[in-house]
Amino acid sequence: MFADLPLLSLVIWVPIIGGALVLLASKNEQAQTARLLALTVSIVTFLLTIPLYTGFDLTTHQMQFPEKTSWIPLFNINYHLGVDGISMPLILLTSFTTILVVLAGWEVIKVKVAQYLAAFLIMEGLMIGVFAALDSILFYVFWEAMLIPMFLIIGIWGGERRVYATIKFFLYTFLGSVFMLIALIYMYIQSGTFGVLDLHDFKLSMTEQTWIFLAFLVAFAVKVPMWPVHTWLPDAHVEAPTGGSVILAAIMLKLGAYGFVRFSMPITPDASQSLDWLMITLSLIAIVYIAFVALVQKDMKKLIAYSSISHMGFVTLGFFIVYMIIDNTGSAQGAAMGIEGALVQMISHGFISGALFLCVGVMYDRMHSRMIGDYGGVANTMPVFAAFMVFFAMANAGLPGTSAFVGEFFVIMSAFKANFWIAFLAATTLIFGAAYTLWMVKRVLFGEVANENVAALKDLNNREYFILGTLAVAVLVLGLWPAPLLDVMHVTVEHLVQQITQSKL
């Protein structure tokens, strides 16, 4: 029944058009209409993404649900969509997270409600577009267009230093991506195509590959973000409204990592191989150094932001450790494991970081403070909430049984096959991650009730309970039974490993 529908186009355009419709209910007294409409649109979009999973063919690495029509014939640019085992789970993550974000802003956002919800819906469509695009200009259009709603979300509904944070966010990302554009045009001039899959097969010399790799690196490293171009993230997270932080952490950061596996590694495999030391070094710095930075934060949102950077270091490590593993063991088996671990980590981090930001949001809505020092003993007044927060904190620290464990364990295991010391350094994050997360939990949740504001706190309402509960289930299910996700990825990852280890010279 679903096979005939252009599913990918639908999941891109339903939220965008839905967002435009929500804008029509922009009067203050229509706020409730806007909320209900936005929720409907996000649920419909989520339902539309489910057939992508159920109808997914596990046995092929080919792009599925393809759609291709000529878009700008003069430049041979096509409207080409398709998903594989890497992008499909991320699309599901996006549509799932958007529902929670719409719910999270339900009572909290009181000004310009329609615009707020519309921005999130439009952004959802654009982000799905990034994951589904198989033409590099189409990818670039979605990639850049996505910045606009985020820019407005942080700037309009953000905190005190929102203008600084949002302009920094925009300029950083924009600066990174223009170099990618130059690289894409360069390849078009050489090959005559913007098609991502065609570029995968296009031969490039080592010098060309190196420059193109670096151009992509700037674009994707800013987005991931990798050390040392990460400084926009803590600012953006701190100032963004809760929903914005959730989308940033859960999905936007994944786009950068996705770029590495969709563009950098398959298009410039030889450069990736020769520069893997650079990527591994940057990843390790992110994992270890940023974990220390997280340890000293006084602001909860900043702490989680730094924790995100540290965890994203695992993702890039998992990708680029591949070459070393193959050098050492000569088998692609362990290599695939590293990449799969990184991909699971992406999904898992989407749930956990989103959940942690929502937890902070729950407290912020009540206390209007993000500072750890303003809290203490919250568990006494909000026991249910405290249970959730402890659970997500444990997950963030990589507790076995939660989704984070799967990804981190895979990456560390495969790192051992590459080099003991890399694995050792990566594994320290399990300690540091536990340290900064649990220490925050201790200071915020436990102990005596710190002040009368905390004493007056009310526990979760049904809406918040539902949001956090759903995420907790997702984290647990993925942690205990990751097979459905791994099955989806498996064939694609094997193909990817083969692709990125095949020299183009």
């Binding site: 700008i72 014939p73 259009v141 309009i156 302009i167 925009f170 223009v178 045009i185 078009y188």
Partner: protein
């Protein structure tokens, strides 16, 4: 063989020009007999003339290149496409400026007559195929514009701007004319095609003079386009002129100036591409650098847009200097897109202004999202398009130009261009910041005639629509050079 008898030239390709000239003269004759109450008639008549001229241009269009008036007038696809956009832009300028002129009590027939003469000048420039015709068109355009800038005669700023514009403009025209005379001296012909033929087989001893002529011609053109280092007049004139006139100067004449560059540099001096490429590279880099950096320091939005124009001219030159068909068509696309965006940008200033109040400071856009979410959204699209962010058409303009530059191996130039556009991003974002993130100081409702609101909306949505489906306009520009 000497021509012994007078032969009537083929007038068909020039019918649009002849028609517009006739209509303008008729309007000029009607103007004195109309009372202020019936002034709207002039306005409607002008719009009607433009529409009819557009229809005629389309009607006489052929896919072949036609020369007439002994080869001093040409009609080709590039020219016809550019002309149609000149009419379109001018018509929109007339629609946008009506309210502004009424509010300031300068809703006079002369505005439209001068405007139409300027359009005629642009048409002649676009179709010029001899050095003299080119100069004729340019002067007709320039003289009309000088008068328009001084149109609000009791305004000190406007008078000052007109004076500056006139003196500098006359100087530039002089330079251009001097360059043309050198070209004529070397080649012995005024015909642009003839210049090309002679230049191709020129002996070495004459190349120096030819080069000198080239430099002077480029100076003249750079002035009209507003490329650094001949950009000084732009901020002052844009700032000082009544916004309705700034709107006009900042849009349609750029299209004509582009045509002038194409006719003179590419068609006439195409063989000297090696020489003018370097000059244009320097001007392009400087224009992008100075335009984008100085725009950041502006508080007046008309000045900011003036510097933004300079940076856009830098981008425009990139396509031309590539020297390929792809490059020319990308520049043509760029100039058309630029005219549409600039039209919207200045149009918004007029929309926000009212009697006794000029919304010409960037801070006047504070809180526009609260006062009028729809027009804030339109301005958002326009600003993002100027900055080159997809999914607006400005992105494809930049994409096409960058593609042509990288296509001729000048990747470094493309990198310079994008770095400056990132720097330029900042001041466009600042306008968005004022509109969306700040509270409004001034909560007067925004009132304007329905026609203006409709056209403004069409302008903004058009930029968005062309950003989603740019294919046909790109193909149209490519067809002009195949």
């Amino acid at each position: 063989m000497m021509q012994t008898s007078f032969q009537m030239p083929d007038l068909t390709p020039a019918i649009p020009e002849i028609f517009l000239l006739t209509m303008t003269c008729i309007i000029l004759l009607i103007v004195p007999y109309l009372s202020d109450k019936n002034r709207v008639l002039t306005y409607l008549l002008s719009l009607g003339s433009l529409a009819a001229t557009a229809a005629l241009t389309v009607a006489v269009h052929t896919s072949e290149t036609v020369y007439t008036f002994s080869g001093s007038f040409v009609s080709d696809t590039m020219g016809d496409v550019l002309k149609v956009f000149v009419y379109l832009v001018t018509a929109v300028v007339f629609i946008y400026s009506r309210k502004y002129l009424l509010d300031r009590n300068i809703f006079k027939g002369e505005f439209y007559v001068l405007g139409l003469f300027a359009v005629l000048g642009m048409m002649v420039m676009i179709s010029a195929h001899s050095l003299l015709t080119m100069y004729l068109g340019l002067e007709l355009l320039s003289l009309s514009l000088y008068a328009l800038v001084a149109f609000q005669r009791d305004s000190k700023d406007a008078t000052e701007a007109a004076m500056k514009y006139f003196v500098l403009g006359a100087l530039a025209s002089g330079m251009l004319l001097y360059g043309m005379s050198l070209l004529y001296g070397v080649t012995g012909t005024l015909d642009i095609g003839g210049v090309q033929t002679v230049a191709a087989g020129l002996e070495d001893s004459k190349k120096l003079v030819m080069g000198l002529g080239l430099v002077f011609v480029i100076v003249g053109m750079a002035f009209k386009l507003g490329a650094v280092p001949f950009h000084m007049w732009i901020p002052d004139v844009y700032h000082g002129a009544p916004t309705a006139v700034t709107l006009f100067i900042g849009t349609a004449p750029k299209i004509a100036a582009f045509a002038m560059v194409m006719r003179l540099l590419v068609e006439g001096l195409g063989d000297m591409h090696d020489q003018w490429q370097d000059i244009l590279i320097i001007m392009a880099v400087l224009s992008m650098a100075i335009g984008n950096v100085i725009a950041i320091a502006q508080t007046n939005i008309k000045r900011m847009l003036a510097y933004s124009t300079i940076s856009h001219v830098g981008f425009l030159l990139l396509g031309i200097l590539a020297g390929t068909q792809a490059g020319y068509s990308s520049s043509m696309f760029y100039v058309i897109v630029y005219a549409l965006m600039s039209m919207g940008g200045f149009g918004m200033i007029i929309l926000m202004s009212r009697a006794g109040f000029e919304a010409d400071k960037i801070s006047d856009f504070k809180g526009l999202n609260e006062r009028s979410p729809w027009f804030a959204f339109m301005m958002l699209i326009i600003m993002l398009s100027m900055a080159g962010v997809p999914p607006t058409v400005g992105f494809y303009a930049k994409l096409a130009v960058l593609q042509s530059v990288i296509g001729v191996g000048l990747t470094w130039l493309a990198i310079v261009a994008v770095v400056f556009s990132v720097i330029g991003m900042f001041y466009y974002l600042r306008v968005i910041k004022y509109m969306y993130f700040d509270k409004a100081d001034d909560t007067t409702p925004i009132e304007s005639p329905t026609d203006m609101k409709l056209v403004m909306s069409a302008n903004g949505l058009g930029i968005l629509f062309l950003g989603i489906a740019p294919g046909s306009l790109l193909a149209m520009c490519a067809a002009a050079f195949s």
